[in-house]
Symmetry: C2
Subunit: 332 residues, 2 copies
DNA sequence: GTGAAAGCGCTAACAC
DNA sequence: GTGTTAGCGCTTTCAC
């Protein structure tokens, strides 16, 4: 718990000026071979590493990429895996920041985090499911699963409409006719598109759309509890639910089971994302897979492109329906 | 991509000095109510947020806790979930840093990361499976799954000997007699203890310990490939493997399957950790559960204690054997 | 109640 | 080839 070793300590110990130490460390010209090796020896002895904070205040580049999230939930974590491995063998380090932990409100967390880290600590940021498209950012950003109404090309997303349609069609093909939709965070483009896919599939099967069957879940487990109950309280019961993501699908199953219903016999449930928890759940969740690690890697590539001055091209990836154990034909 | 809004911008726009803005923002005395509200209005208008970097250079506290990892693998990620949720409703933000991504070597990553972030960016750090016990740190640290030979009380670990013994006993009770051990990172206390547990269980069953059956895996999937092959190349084949963690257990199963072996019929495999991937694997992995999120939460509590000046008490948590599909009686 | 000035650790001009 | 100096954005004495 001592004070950290600073460049001044090194300079003092080496008997040279702070500037010389800096030059030596950063391989700048104007240091004799002798001085260089001497200074580097002292650096090694003292175990000195430059402070990211001080360095980034003076320098332009910090060689750190920030992944900004509202919270460390499974979706963000899977993405982080991809980001991290894509950054291997590059000169960049990764720093993941959950800035709204103590903020009380989740709204606008990305603006806050960006202001606090951007321009100084990080060279660029990957925003995971941002609540809004930040304008006037101080560093290049790439958004994964972006906010509605984005015209920013620096986005990574999936074919949500098609995926949701496939999920709903799967339920229809099993024979379900009354299918509820536990909707996602309506500020995200993905939630709207998934609802659209749900509607498209119903229309293709000539089933009239019933707005009372669409109930808000909000993507988070805690926010989905009420919606899950509401679905089960429907006067004319549904036999299946398409949840907008896996976290709410899992919560849907939890609530159903709590109320004595058996999945999939009494109720079929389909999710979206294929977070790792989906396959680990009992019963295993039928869901629509997003290639999360690949999306993280794509976001990294895009960010590095932008950092090199190139114009980004939006990336949209395909989804795959993964049929597991949470869906079956309706009972009756 | 504009320059970030600084305190100077705010001061200029508000027509006051930088010092006054700082006082207003931080609620210091010596600002008239009128000036205060005026300044705060400008702050809101400009969307100003103080730079974490600049603030932490001057201030003691940054209200940010760092989770330092070598890489974002499942073990660290699960832990991060616990850390993050434990920090909710506190005044702290979480920042996870993978500092060795570009470092070339994994050795000593914690010293480097600590030097770069400590003393400035973060108030305290949680080190996940550190390769060495850093001395002379600039901030309080808590180690999860610590290095061998630590006498530092600020550690969170599990009962590895008992867990490994339970895993091995499980295989023995199924009737296995030749059981290999795919060993973990020997620089970590956990790997040594797990080998000890394996030996204890064998001894309890009067099975002589055969050193050729202990083969290094190193905890990472990529590092376990060779060891997995070596186990299957054993002249006198084993019927079961106790892998030191889930990642190497999963790699063991992959290699076995690649070589035409069926798990669990031809080979039983037990892991350790119960990362979420274990339950998602086909076949589902029998493993020893560590309560990862709880361990993350415990590390947070310990760190906050130390930050408040209290002496830490080492925490050791219990493990649970989770029997799934990757283990069965030997074929013969 | 407010502002000027110093300084956190570091890098980049510029002087010597 | 090396040292001096200024300044990044911010907080904090200390004058006024």
């Amino acid at each position: 718990m001592n004070r950290r070793t600073t460049i001044t300590d090194v300079a003092l110990a080496a008997g040279v000026s702070v500037a010389t130490v800096s030059k030596a460390i950063n391989g700048r010209y104007g240091v004799s071979a002798e001085t260089l090796s001497h200074v580097m020896g002292v650096v090694a002895d003292l175990g000195y590493e430059s402070s990211i904070v001080a360095t980034s205040m003076r320098r332009r580049r910090t060689l750190v990429i920030g992944v900004l999230v509202a919270e460390f939930e499974p979706f963000a974590l899977q993405l982080l895996r991809g980001v991290s491995s894509a950054l291997e063998n590059t000169e960049y380090d990764v720093l993941a920041y959950a800035g709204s932990v103590s903020a009380g409100t989740h709204l606008g967390w990305e603006r806050r985090s960006l202001s606090r880290l951007g321009g100084t600590l990080i060279d660029g940021a990957i925003l995971v499911t941002p609540t809004a498209a930040p304008s006037e950012t101080s560093v290049p950003i790439v958004a994964v699963d972006p906010h509605v109404g984005t015209d920013d090309p620096a986005t990574v997303s999936v074919a949500n409409v098609e995926g949701a349609s496939a999920a709903t069609s799967h339920l229809l093909s099993l024979g379900h006719r009354r299918i509820a939709h536990l909707r996602g965070r309506t500020d995200l483009e993905s939630a709207r598109e998934r609802e659209q896919g749900y509607r498209n599939a119903l229309r293709a099967s000539d089933i009239p759309f019933d707005p009372t069957l669409v109930i808000d879940g909000g993507y988070r487990a805690a926010d989905s509890t009420a919606g899950a109950h509401a679905i089960l309280d429907l006067p004319d019961p549904v036999t299946a639910v398409f949840a907008a993501n896996d976290l709410s699908a899992i919560e849907m199953m939890r609530v159903a089971s709590e109320r004595g219903l058996h999945v999939p016999d009494d109720l079929s449930v389909v999710g979206f994302d294929d977070i790792i928890d989906a396959a680990a759940h009992v019963p295993q969740l039928t869901t629509v897979r997003q290639p999360l690690p690949e999306m993280g890697a794509a976001a990294v590539r895009m960010l590095l492109e932008i950092l090199q001055g190139h114009e980004p091209e939006p990336v949209q990836m395909a989804t795959t329906l993964v049929v597991r154990e949470s869906t079956a034909p309706p009972r009756s």
